[in-house]
């Protein structure tokens, strides 16, 4: 019997970490991640989760403590957002390069300055080259399911890479949603114990983190790249098995009325649910519009993405972060690159919006889609358009 309860998404994530039976949680508070770590601290304090909770003095130390913990073979979790993720930046590279299966929830938040505790994807885009597996969720159920999946993927011997589960700050972290929790026994069956192959253990000494001279550095990095790319198969396998065990199937590229549609909108994160309503509205008006959402950001699902957009004429991309002075949004930029050498490809129109917690409504998405279609006819002198700015 599974239970369906109304619960704040942050609390639900902490409960998912409890179900995963994490051994160590090291975290530093930052809005809008706080409710996740507060509830974890509570679960540990109450004895409901048998783990060590390390209340570190910074996010840099949070991720550093996770390195130490994960290197001993302990199941390790942390959560952060925005500035916290940026303060961790150099440590993130070490976690992936040293093949430490840390799991982290990221409550996506804008970056200073001006200070903003509200959501966008600037933090997530800034860490896309750190070598982590990055999964993006849109609602509480997906968050809970993917936290459990994240441990299984990260700790899989074929992967051994850290995983971020991205959820939008406030818009998702602070809402109460109906969430179906799996049975503990089913989670235990789905998620085997962490068996890290070469842990720090005095019975069998290993040296971890030697320096790499030019003669070996390229090989080390290439091995890491090959491993991250290969991890996609394990991610898909995990999602398939999760689907069979719990009845909810996840895909690297999620489609909504997109098959055969000539105009596609592409979004990431919880705004996708608003975008779905906009697509519904426009389809009712007889317009041939579909939606695709990226679930797996790293490793990038090239095949699935190309497949999903191959029949479209127009692909309108909404980025929630600016790549300053660059080609526009990071997502649009990467999608263009992914399509460049394809014979048949849609025209990509790039929008940036929803920065620092600025909402985009159903009507807003309809505006974006209409404007995108217009641009394909009239052209635009800009690399990208910023949506809803007051100039």
């Amino acid at each position: 019997m599974t239970t369906r309860v109304g619960i704040e998404v942050s609390i639900a994530i902490a409960d998912a970490v409890k179900m995963a039976n994490a051994d160590v949680v090291a975290a530093y508070p930052i809005t809008p991640q706080t409710h996740i770590v507060e509830h974890l601290a509570e679960l540990v304090a109450n004895g409901e989760l048998d783990a060590e909770y390390i209340p570190v003095e910074s996010e840099h130390s949070a991720m550093s403590a996770c390195l130490g913990s994960s290197a001993t073979g302990a199941r390790t979790f942390t959560a952060t957002a925005g500035q916290g993720l940026e303060l961790m930046h150099e440590v993130l590279y070490v976690a992936s390069s040293m093949r430490l299966p840390v799991v982290m929830a990221v409550a996506n938040r804008a970056l200073s300055s001006p200070l903003s505790v509200w959501g966008d994807h600037s933090d997530m885009m800034a860490v896309r080259d750190t070598g982590w597996i990055q999964i993006v969720v849109e609602n509480g159920q997906q968050a809970v399911d993917n936290i459990i999946c994240a441990f299984r993927i990260a700790e899989d011997k074929r992967v051994l890479l850290p995983v971020m589960v991205h959820l939008d700050g406030f818009y998702l972290t602070h809402v109460i949603e109906p969430i179906t929790f799996p049975e503990q026994s089913d989670v235990d069956r789905f998620l085997p114990p962490n068996k890290y192959p070469l842990p720090l253990n005095p019975d069998k000494p290993v040296a971890m983190g030697d320096f790499g001279p030019p003669a070996i550095y390229t090989e080390a990095k290439w091995a890491q790249e090959v491993q991250l790319r290969a991890s996609k198969d394990v991610v898909l396998e995990c999602w398939d098995e999760f689907g069979r065990a719990f009845g909810r199937q996840y895909c690297p590229v999620e489609k909504y009325h997109s098959d055969g549609a000539k105009v596609l909108l592409l979004t990431m994160g919880c705004f996708s649910e608003t975008a779905m309503v906009a697509v519904d509205n426009m389809r009712k008006e007889g317009k041939d519009i579909g939606l695709v959402r990226l679930r797996l950001w790293r490793p990038f699902p090239f095949e699935e993405f190309r497949q999903a957009v191959k029949d479209a004429d127009v692909l309108i991309v909404l980025d929630r972060a600016i790549s300053f002075g660059g080609p526009g949004g990071a997502v649009a930029s990467e999608l263009k690159a992914a399509l460049y050498n394809q014979d048949k490809k849609p025209e990509v129109v790039s929008f940036v919006g929803g920065l620092g917690g600025r909402d985009i409504t159903e009507a807003g998405f309809e505006d974006i889609i209409n404007r995108g279609i217009e641009i394909t006819r009239t052209g635009s002198k800009n690399e990208y358009e910023i949506y809803g700015v007051r100039e």
């Binding site: 051994d23 160590v24 090291a26 048998d50 783990a51 060590e52 390390i54 209340p55 570190v56 003095e57 910074s58 840099h60 130390s61 949070a62 550093s64 403590a65 996770c66 390195l67 130490g68 913990s69 994960s70 290197a71 001993t72 073979g73 302990a74 390790t76 150099e90 440590v91 070490v94 040293m98 720090l200 253990n201 005095p202 019975d203 069998k204 000494p205 290993v206 040296a207 971890m208 983190g209 030697d210 320096f211 790499g212 001279p213 070996i216 080390a220």
Partner: protein, 325 residues
Amino acid sequence: MEKYAIYVPRLIQRKEKFAPGHRACIGCGEALAVRLAFKAMGNNVIVANATGCMEIVASQIPYTTWHLPWIHTLFENQAAVASGIEAAYKAMKRKGMAVPADTKVVAMAGDGGTSDIGLQALSGALERGHDFTYLCFDNEAYMNTGIQRSSATPFGAMTTTSPPGKNSIGQFSWKKNMPEIAAAHNIPYVATACHSYPFDLMDKVARGVNTPGPAYIHILSVCPTGWRSPTDTVIKLGRLAVETGMFPLYEVENGRYKMSLKMPQLRPVKDYLKLQGRFRHLSDDTIGVIQERVEEEYNKLLEKAKDGSKRARSKSRTGSAKVSA
């Protein structure tokens, strides 16, 4: 100190944890200090090593100098990494997972990794009370990157970023008092040590490692490369640092200060400074200023230790010596 001095041949392990074959400079005091420190504990140890000389000389894929489980990640985070290791072992042991019992966690870093860039992580780990030992191997500058000043570089010393010149006497600030900062966290054990007093060093490391809760040991490590001193004066310089009061040896156990050596009288700091090229440019006036400061600090320490030793007071006390190159 007495214990090892008497029983040394029987008590010291022959086995090297920090094995020969590493790439430290000739006469490296730090490599000696590391070697001694790790002889003072058993094999049931995990080491978290900061970036720095000892990391670079001991590791290069696919080699390692270490016969202990060892992890290096970054420059400023070894205390946090050690926190994670300690917490993980605690959790795994409690949950009945197969890990050895009584594993000791040791974090180590240089003076830059400790008193500058790693100070925040260290303070956090000490404050949280993790059961680990932190060893600071202090060679008084960023030697690995080419002798740049750190906050642990002594006043007046020449480094590549504190060069003496028309408008500079060299290092412009006084050495940061790291052991005092550690002691201010009210941790159970703080000590200073030097490779030139090997038995004292090993006793202190053993005590630190076997003390439940955090222990901090600050180990002066002579660096002939950076100090511009002959390699055959390494041991002598360590002794002179202690005998002049520039680097006093003491312990702080549960807040109680104890001097490690009884010294009837301090030697003049000049005896120490004149052997090192990094102090070559100092005028007698500046040396006088250093002398005063060293005595003042040393006397403060004797007060804290309620030590009855004679207070230091130099004959050439001027009280108004001008600081100049």
